[in-house]
Symmetry: C3
Subunit: 186 residues, 3 copies
C-alpha cells in the first residue's frame, strides 16, 4: 500500500444476518480483504434492510472523524427489500457516479447481472461511502475493481491539495486506438 | 423463453401519434418483438409528450398487479418536448441505472448518438418500467440489448428469493484480459 | 465544422483564479480550442468554487438567447471545494447522462482517475451546459471526446425537427462483434 493505512468501517446490510438467521459471510470477507490491501477495519455492524436504520448507521459512522471509508455489503440489488442505495442517497452530500459505473463495467466480465447492481459511491464531510453487493465474492470483486481509485478519492475528499499521483493504466479499448467516435461526414 | 411469459404494456409517447397525424410504428414493432421473445402484450397506449399525462399513464399501468413490465417508446431524446425520463422519475421508487447505461453502451455500436438517449429504468411496486427510443429500430435494438437482464430484474423485483440464474456471458473487453485498471506504482 | 458556428461561453471555476492568485490557463485553452473547432466564444468568466455564485453565473449565461453552449472548467473533482456539478444540477431542467458517461469512458484511456470526474451535462431552455475538468489538458480532452455529439445535442435541444444527421462511427468493442451479453441457457 502507498501512504498510511486507511481506517475503514464495514456494514453488512441483511435482514437475515441482523436477525441472526444467517451467518454474515460478506462482512468478514471484506474485513479480511481490507486488512490485507487497504487499511484497518475499526468498526463493523450488521443492520436490517430498513432505510432509516441503514441511514442512521451510515451517518453515525461517517460523522466520526477517525473513519475514512465506510463499506456496505448487501441491499444493492432489485429485490423489494434492497434499499441500501436509497439510504445512501440520504446521507451523502456529493455523489461520485463514475465509481459505481466502473464497478458495473468490471462486473460485466463476470456476469451481465452486474449491471443490475445499484450501488452508490459518495462523500459526506471527510468520509467516503461505497455500496458493495451482498455476496462475499461480489463484494470483494467490486471493491477490487475500484481499488486504484479509492485512496486517491479519499485523499482528495479530505482536502489533500497535492497533484494527482500517477496510477498505472492500461488502455481500456485496446483494439481501437483512437476515439470511440469519429467524424466521417463532418 | 425461460419461465412463464411476462405480461407487458407498451406505451408510445408522441405528440403526432397522439393527435393522429402520424401512424405509430414503434408501438406495433415493440409488440411484435415482445410477443416473439418476451411475453404477452396485454395493453397498449399512445400519449402525447406531456409529463403529467405520461406520468398518469405509467402509474395506471404499473399499479395493475397483472402487469410485469411497462415499455415506453419515444420522448427520450433532447428535443424540447422530450420529457419521458422526467415523467418516469416521477413514478419510480427505485432506479436501476445500469440498464440504461448498458443500452447506451450497446447503442454506441450503431451510432454515437445513442449516448444522447436519456432513457430510464426503474421499479415501482412489483412492476418495472423501461424507456426506449422513439424509432422502431432504436426501440427494438435497445430492448434487445438488455433482454438478458429483464427477466431476472422482474423476477427479483417481484420478490423471487431464488439464487441468481446463470446467464451466459462473453468477456466485454476481450483484448484486455485483466482489470481495466492496474497498479504500476503502488 | 458542419452548420453555422455555435456561440459559446466559457466559465472557469477556481477559487485561486477568482482571487487572482493563479493565472487561469484552462479557460484560455478552451477558448482557443472552441474557436478552432466549434464556434465563437462570446463570453468568459472566472468564478470561485461557491455553489450560489456558480449557479447564478450559469443561469445568467444560459438564459441569454444568444448563447448555445456554456462550458465550465474546474470543480468537477472530489475535493471539499469541488461543487460545480451540484451547482449545475441546480440550473438544468433535463440531464443528458450519456455525455458525462462517455467523457469518463474516454478518459479511462488516459487515466483511471477520469472515473472520479463528476461533470454533468444538461439542458436549460435552449442552452446546453457541460462541466469539464479543471486542468487545461483534461478540459480539452474531455471536450474532444464528446465533440461529435455536441452539435447534434444543441441542434435538437433548440428544436431542430430534422432527422438525425449521420455521424461516422467505429465499433467500440472491436474484438467482440456481437452483443456484450448472450443467452447460453435461455
Amino acid at each position: 500500500m502507498a501512504g498510511p493505512a486507511l481506517t475503514v468501517a464495514v456494514v453488512t446490510v441483511s435482514d437475515r444476518a441482523a436477525r441472526g438467521e444467517r451467518i454474515d459471510q460478506s462482512g468478514p470477507a471484506l474485513v479480511e480483504w481490507v486488512e490485507r490491501r487497504l487499511g484497518r477495519v475499526i468498526q463493523t455492524a450488521v443492520v436490517p434492510d430498513e432505510q432509516p436504520v441503514i441511514r442512521a448507521e451510515l451517518e453515525r459512522l461517517m460523522d466520526q472523524s477517525s473513519i475514512d471509508l465506510v463499506l456496505t455489503t448487501g441491499g444493492t440489488g432489485v429485490s423489494p427489500r434492497d434499499v441500501t442505495p436509497e439510504a445512501t442517497w440520504g446521507v451523502i452530500e456529493r455523489e461520485v457516479p463514475g465509481v459505481a459505473e466502473l464497478m458495473r463495467l468490471e462486473g460485466l466480465r463476470h456476469t451481465p447481472l452486474a449491471m443490475l447492481s445499484r450501488g452508490v459511491c459518495g462523500i459526506r464531510g471527510r468520509s467516503v461511502v461505497l455500496n458493495l453487493p451482498g455476496s462475499p465474492t461480489g463484494a470483494v470483486e467490486s471493491l477490487e475493481a475500484v481499488l486504484p481509485l479509492l485512496r486517491h478519492l479519499i485523499d482528495k475528499a479530505q482536502g489533500d491539495p497535492a497533484d494527482c499521483g500517477k496510477i498505472g493504466t492500461r488502455p481500456i479499448f485496446t483494439a481501437t486506438s483512437d476515439s470511440l467516435l469519429n467524424f466521417e461526414n463532418e
